[in-house]
């Protein structure tokens, strides 16, 4: 792929004069090999998870993606598209084809079919596991071209290298994290790159490419809303700053119209582009664009400036008025849907906390503390302001775009931790500009001291060229030393970045979270494989039509690995249904039994970390179950489970807490167990307390299976007793 893309350059370079050709060739060779190494690096850095654990799918959502991909490869595309899944959301079911972004599954299936066609008979799981690293490698190539577009080839190379190992991106693209984001970041960056290229050249083909990039993005991830709002915003800024041009007109119109039509082919998105409030900005800018064009045409036809001024006033006012009225009528009549909760929670960050507990409950939707930024970007955070400065020094259509992309996405990243991912390419690109420009400035400083004329490789340096010209006429010996010191400093920082990224990738971001690892007392690794143990138990020991109730986090895994029907899963589309499960978990056993009977539940699965000290278990998630349950059923009240605003499970816990279903299921028989030497029985290691209710008696449920480390506990719901 690398050589293919750069081969035209190679051909061009041959037509140069022989002396020039040599340096050119050398430069090209170095550039291509760096890019090739970066491509490989991006791939292998993400294989830590396979090395440390095994080739498996990670976390929660990827299991659903894996299950659907499996279905797609086995049954074919049309079956997949029309799939009604009765194994989840019992008794409602879920229309899979209409409620998912198929891009990822189709991509993986295509790779799989291509490999099979080439006679590589790999398992579909391996393809799924390696999809994310593969696309991360492709992203580095796009980052190179993007960097080349907005600054120069040096910045492109640095950007590719930075993004290859940036933890903010790695966190979502290690081998096994088979999620939509894996391909979506590639699609996002590709769309942006092609659009910027289209604006620069004004060529229809680039705009067409950008429309297809957008289509791919829409098919892959809900984050496409970011594109369809950022690009119009960018166009609007260009219009306001007087950078309107025919190139912009061609690029935006083609991208918008074609992209919109293509996006409508995805069933999950449907007609949202013309109906939803989130997409109206794009349409407004599109119409504004036509007004601009029309005015331009009228100006050309009218020679009288005074007449044109009046005409301008009337047209602009009436256009704004008509747009406003149309929007008002559309919203009032319900044709244009209002903004969704998720969109609101980005613009007004306190919204989710007050209105949608199910969004606020997810840990990756929490606002970002500075340390998370530092952890994910490390040195890039220091370089970013410098990069901003360089961009402002050399404002062009492309740099305006990257600055807007960087700032908006960073703002969103501040609101939600998971959006750090979206900001990562922009941060890498802007930081790359800082690195590249700095290094170029400093090295050119060094070179001029050696009285060597500027080498051919510094073509199109722009601002750095101008600043190096300034330095040319003041050659003091000190500057050389200073430049060397600064260069050493920059390279030291970059090497720290590399160390940080490698370490973070291997230690923090490669955990599959379905298999847990801990350090033993002697520093040895202990692996807890309880999840899979439990799911395979379900698969082999329960009737095939059994219904399993658990908190929604584990729904996808149970259906994918346990192959059993679940009540709720990670596709949180029906809040009431989830609230019902939350209510059952937080009620007394007999009340919960009625709810479970009404849902035909056969087994209840809880995750419990009291023995191992695993802290993200159901007891720690319990308050969210109460909150979500209480949001729909007011009989559940959060204060009933708290003591003086504090959540406790020990003797001081509230009576409701000590007797609710979740507590009973987690701590059943736990009172007999000694978990830690020197502690009393029933000592909960995850919360560090001795539990308050050691004598748990179950009436309507019985223990069916508890995994070896007690992480997953499964209970069977007893059939009702005979009524005579």
């Amino acid at each position: 792929m690398v050589t293919k893309k750069t081969s035209p350059d190679l051909l061009n370079s041959f037509s140069f004069k022989s002396l020039k050709l040599k340096t050119k060739q050398q430069e090209l060779l170095i550039r291509v090999s760096i890019l090739g190494l970066v491509y490989v690096l991006a791939f292998i850095a993400r294989l830590f998870s396979v090395l440390r654990y095994e080739s498996m799918i990670h976390e929660f959502d990827p299991y659903f993606n894996y299950r659907t991909t499996l279905f797609l490869t086995e049954k074919g595309f049309y079956e997949f598209w029309n799939w009604f899944d009765s194994e989840s959301w019992y008794p409602l079911g879920r229309i899979i084809g209409g409620t998912l972004y198929p891009g990822l599954m189709v991509t993986a299936a295509l790779i799989y079919w291509a490999l099979r066609f080439l006679r590589f008979f790999v398992h579909i799981r391996e393809v799924c596991v390696l999809t994310a690293p593969f696309f991360a490698s492709n992203t580095t190539i796009v980052a190179y071209f993007f960097g080349k577009e907005i600054w120069d080839t040096g910045a492109g190379l640095v950007a590719a290298a930075l993004i290859a190992i940036c933890p903010g991106y790695i966190s979502r693209s290690v081998a096994g994290s088979y999620d939509n984001e894996a391909v979506a970041i590639f699609a996002l960056l590709l769309t942006f790159y092609l659009f910027v290229k289209a604006v620069k050249t004004g060529s229809l083909s680039w705009a067409l490419g950008s429309a297809f990039g957008y289509f791919y993005m829409v098919s892959a991830w809900g984050g496409y809303v970011f594109i369809i709002n950022l690009i119009p915003l960018y166009v609007l800024v260009l219009l306001i700053t007087g950078r309107y041009s025919m190139r912009l007109y061609v690029a935006y119109n083609c991208m918008y119209i074609l992209g919109m039509l293509l996006a409508m082919q995805i069933r999950f998105v449907g007609f949202q582009h013309v109906q939803s409030g989130e997409h109206m900005g794009a349409m407004g800018v599109f119409l504004l664009m036509q007004v601009f064009y029309f005015l331009d045409w009228v100006k050309y036809k009218l020679n009288d400036t005074k007449l044109f001024q009046t005409f301008l006033k009337i047209t602009v006012t009436s256009a704004v008025l008509v747009g406003g009225i149309a929007l008002g009528v559309g919203t009032a009549s319900g044709y244009i849907s209002p903004w969704t909760g998720r969109f609101y929670s980005l613009l007004d960050p306190t919204y989710a906390k007050d209105h949608i507990p199910i969004i606020a409950s997810v840990s990756e939707h929490q606002p970002t503390a500075w340390s998370s930024f530092m952890f994910d970007y490390h040195i890039l955070l220091f370089l970013f302001p410098a990069g901003l400065y360089f961009c402002f020094k050399r404002l062009s259509d492309a740099t305006i775009f990257i600055v807007m992309y960087g700032l908006t996405s960073l703002y969103f990243a501040g609101v939600m931790v998971r959006l750090i991912l979206v900001a990562t390419p922009a941060v890498c690109l802007i930081s790359a500009i800082a690195v590249s420009a700095t290094v170029k400035n400093l090295t050119s400083l060094l070179r001029t001291k050696q009285k060597i004329p500027q080498a051919g490789s510094t073509k199109g340096v722009g601002s750095s060229k101008s600043s190096s010209k300034v330095t040319l006429d003041q050659s003091q010996p000190f500057q050389k030393n200073g430049a060397i010191a600064l260069l050493v400093g920059v390279f030291y920082l970059l090497s720290r970045y590399a160390i940080h990224c490698t370490w973070v990738t291997s230690e923090a971001y490669s955990s599959p979270s379905i298999v847990l690892a801990a350090r033993g007392a002697h520093g040895n690794r202990i692996i807890f494989d309880d999840y899979r143990e439990a799911y395979y138990w379900l698969r082999q020991n329960t009737p095939t039509d059994a219904k399993v109730m658990s908190w929604w986090d584990y729904g996808y895994q149970i259906t994918a690995m346990g192959n059993r029907t679940v009540i709720v899963d990670n596709n949180t589309w029906n809040n009431t249904h989830i609230a019902t499960v939350g209510r059952a978990m937080s009620s007394y056993e007999d009340e919960a039994y009625d709810i479970m009977r009404s849902l035909d539940v056969n087994y209840v699965l809880v995750v419990f970390g009291g023995v191992t000290g695993y802290s993200s278990d159901d007891i720690n998630k319990f308050l969210w179950m109460v909150r979500i349950g209480g949001g729909v059923y007011p009989v559940i009240k959060e204060p009933d489970y708290l003591v003086n605003g504090e959540f406790r499970v020990d003797k001081g816990a509230s009576p409701k807490m000590l007797n609710c279903l979740m507590y009973k299921l987690c701590y059943y028989r736990f009172g007999e167990l000694v978990t830690e030497y020197g502690k009393p029985t029933g000592y909960d290691r995850a919360r560090g307390v001795e539990i308050g209710n050691k004598d748990v008696k179950l009436e309507h449920l019985e223990e069916a299976y508890t995994t070896s480390n007690w992480i997953v506990r499964i209970y069977r719901v007893k059939p009702p007793t005979n009524r005579l």
């Binding site: 503390a369 340390s371 302001p385 901003l388 700032l407 920082l493 230690e507 708290l642 003086n644």
Partner: protein
């Protein structure tokens, strides 16, 4: 997942609700009503004398409930005064919502005892403020410092309805009218400037500062501070004179730490830009040298500091991976 900020160690305040029923003693109720009408937002300020008069010397059960806010103006604590204002809103809302129903309003009175003029603190056993407790039943409850939670607390204990809370609008009517006239007067001048292209917005430098500010705003975790409404710093639990600026644990941060780190990011980045772009134009060599050394030292310290803080906060020890054959055995 959920953050439980344990209030009881943070703010200095306490609410006690003395709840009662039956046995009419109309003169006391009447006195309280008149006291309420004469005090600001209906919060009666009690002193030692009135405490014994209305609380301790009255035979139980009393005909009314008192909800008492234990205040301490001397402490000068902002969260406490914030809570006091919220308390005032509940009181005012209670009286205005139940305006014509003396059967409701005569059952509950909002009071305040300040630490300066009362021994009542000792009498109620208020030592470690803030405990939020209900005296009658000796049971603790969850009040998180907002008017709504106080109202809910009152409603759940006394079965009297407080009704919706009336907060004063952010800007008073006179302020709004003044601002409106100012805008109206300045509008023509502004429009003229915009048309001429002379505003600050036409200066790209302003946009640069804006961009840097947005960056600072985002990466210093300001959104986190707003959403979780965290304080700028905490007071140490053991030693109240010591302030805690940095919080250990990567999911949470305090206001000041975010800003200081965000400042360091920007300082280093902008210094780098300054050195490579502006410093080279300085004619004086000595000046260049000094500034450059300074910048390098500052950057080095800042980067070291931030990396150290991050490692401390997240608890990770970043290290290099060497080939295993290089290790000594």
């Amino acid at each position: 997942m959920a953050d439980h900020t344990n209030l009881s160690h943070r703010f200095f305040l306490s609410i006690a609700l003395l709840s009662t029923v039956a046995v009419t003693e109309p003169d006391l109720t009447g006195e309280l009503v008149s006291l309420r009408s004469s005090s600001e937002s209906g919060v009666i300020r009690l002193n030692d004398e009135s405490v014994s008069r209305f609380i301790t010397s009255v035979s139980i059960p009393r005909p009314y409930s008192l909800i008492i806010f234990f205040n301490s103006i001397n402490l000068n604590s902002e969260p406490l005064q914030e809570f006091r204002r919220e308390f005032g809103f509940v009181s005012a809302s209670f009286t205005s919502n139940n305006n014509n129903r003396s059967d409701v309003t005569d059952k509950l009175f909002f009071c305040e005892i300040d630490s300066t003029d009362s021994e009542a603190f000792h009498r109620f056993g208020i030592r470690s403020l803030p405990q939020i407790c209900l005296k009658a039943m000796m049971e603790e409850d969850d009040v998180d410092g907002t008017a709504e939670s106080v109202a809910e607390f009152v409603e759940s204990r006394t079965h009297l309805t407080v009704g919706p809370i009336h907060r004063p609008p952010l800007l008073s009517k006179t302020q709004i009218s003044v601002i409106a006239t100012l805008i109206a007067i300045s509008a023509p001048f502004l429009i003229k400037k915009v048309l001429k292209g002379e505003t600050v917005l036409h200066n790209s430098r302003v946009w640069l500062y804006g961009a840097v500010f947005v960056y600072f705003f985002s990466v210093s975790g300001t959104m986190h501070n707003i959403i979780k409404s965290v304080p700028l710093f905490l007071t140490d639990r053991e030693d109240s004179n010591k302030l805690v600026f940095f919080y250990e644990g990567s999911q949470y941060q305090l206001g000041a730490e975010g800003f200081s780190v965000g400042f360091l990011y920007n300082a280093v980045g902008l210094l780098l830009a300054y050195v490579t772009n502006a410093l080279v134009r300085v004619r004086n060599v000595n000046e260049q040298r000094v500034v450059m050394m300074l910048v390098m030292v500052v950057s080095l310290l800042a980067v070291k500091r931030v990396v150290y803080l991050d490692n401390w906060k997240t608890g990770y020890q970043i290290q290099m991976y060497w080939p295993s054959s290089w290790q000594w055995h």
